[in-house]
Amino acid sequence: MLEITTTRDNPMVDPSLHVWGWEIPVYLFVGGVVAGMMILAGIAMMRIARGEDPKGFFSIQTPLLGFMLLNVGMLALFLDLAHPLYVWAVYLTFEPMSPMSWGSWVLLIVYGVLLVSALIRLPDAWPWLGRRVPVLQKLSDTIVGRPGLMKALGWINVVLGVILGIYTGILLNTMVARPLWNTTILGPLFLVSGLSAGAAMIHLATRIFPGRPAPQGLIGGALASMVQTLGPQPPGKRTIDSIIRADLGFLAIELLLIGLLVIGLLTSSAVHADAAKLILGGPYTWIFWGGVVLVGILVPLALQALELGHRIPHTVVPAVLVLAGGFALRWVMVNAGQVSQFAQAAAG
């Protein structure tokens, strides 16, 4: 028998670590969605450059939606800081060993690229702006009119999206003290989950904000450019089907990576196998297998397969479930990971 007592009783550390609340899962989720949307929008931009999809419907305003979503994530991240007035200190240095430092700088570049990607199509959605700000119209004409530039912007979106999607997983993965996070699979898992959630967000946006003639004038136009996230033209059925088909692939890979994550932990050292018990019989079992795997992956996988086979009508239900599952994955990993400890397992 081993009994350990300690007089340490620091808030947020004892009895078990709880330094991150709702803010970090929200940020990781939104970051993943934006990463997925950047990759998909980047691919669409490359198709526009090749002339395969002249309308390139989902590249049109996807960066703008991503830009708005990222603001929500950054707000959550800021609210999490305990010393927020010193946030500028992040941009006085680059710490190559710190995933958070990488992330901070990558986010700055992501913001710039999303802004350029959104602005080049803004005069289309909001002609008033194009007329009043000729520079913007010129920028838009320059990039949209040159396939080479469009292709380059597409590639930049894809590469940044991959980095953004993977870094959120690596951020947790590098913390040796939390065995549940000590697996590099978290990086690709969060990336694929982000791709799937990004596809779901685009799907949802096409349903909620279908194309319609844009209102005229300053206010109406601005509103249309914000709300009609996918531009004035509704996407064709084939395009929607291709998003759903891609999402089937993402969900299948996500399922595979979750399997590998569990196997990896169970076959690793005692502390890691112990950490895996948090989702295998422990307090996070139901939310993980019921919320993340069943509701977030298996059900939408089945529904979308049936939709593609024309067995059931298209609805937004799978997209909503995928988004909920994507958030649940981050919520479980952040919370269960904080509970997992080296000391506890080693002592037990």
Binding site: M100, M175, A177
Partner: protein, 179 residues
């Protein structure tokens, strides 16, 4: 250049918590928080029991995960004594270091920045021992340079059996416990 470490004799420690109180007084640690603490480990089945009492704190690791994860460089290894320190006005309070430490040695000061044991560098620079070491009534705590083969801490490590906390975490801790 020195590389400071601590050697604590668990055969002498009685868990009186003088070190804890001395630290809180010396470093003005906010109420309800602690930079060092006492851990009691009891093994066996009654009546065959063994007990180890330890005064624990930041291990000023040679391979410090809290320093690696810090996005601003606020957590850093100081040149003098190679100790791990926090620059409060560079810390953004992201709490990554608190999550990264396997020893739970860090906390967020109510003022917002990450806080922990400093090995009382302000005292050491004046040639004194850290507050916890200087008040220990059983003289079970020893502070010194691990890079100096003739230092008393190295003499103890050479002649006595000892262990560190969670060596399997790979952090290379510099607080040693004599058994």
């Amino acid at each position: 250049m020195a590389r400071f470490g601590m050697v604590i004799d668990t055969r002498k420690c009685v868990g009186c918590m003088d070190c804890v109180v001395a630290c809180q007084t010396e470093n003005d640690v906010p109420e309800g928080y602690c930079r060092d603490w006492i851990t009691t480990e009891v093994r066996g089945t009654f009546p065959s029991l063994t007990m180890e009492i330890r005064s624990e704190r930041c291990n000023h690791c040679d391979n410090p995960p809290c320093v690696y994860c810090c996005p601003t460089g606020a957590s850093h290894v100081e040149n003098f004594g190679k100790t791990v320190q926090v620059t409060a006005n560079r810390c953004i309070g992201c709490k990554a270091c608190v999550a990264a430490c396997p020893y739970g040695a860090r906390f967020i000061n109510p003022k917002g920045y990450a806080d922990k044991c400093t090995f009382c560098m302000h005292r050491v620079k004046e040639g004194k021992d850290p507050a916890c070491v200087s008040v220990c009534p059983t003289r079970c705590m020893h502070f010194g340079d691990l890079d100096d083969p003739k230092s008393p801490v190295n003499e103890l490590l050479r002649t006595r059996t000892h262990h560190t906390l969670l060596p399997e975490a790979g952090t290379k801790p510099r607080v040693y416990y004599l058994t």
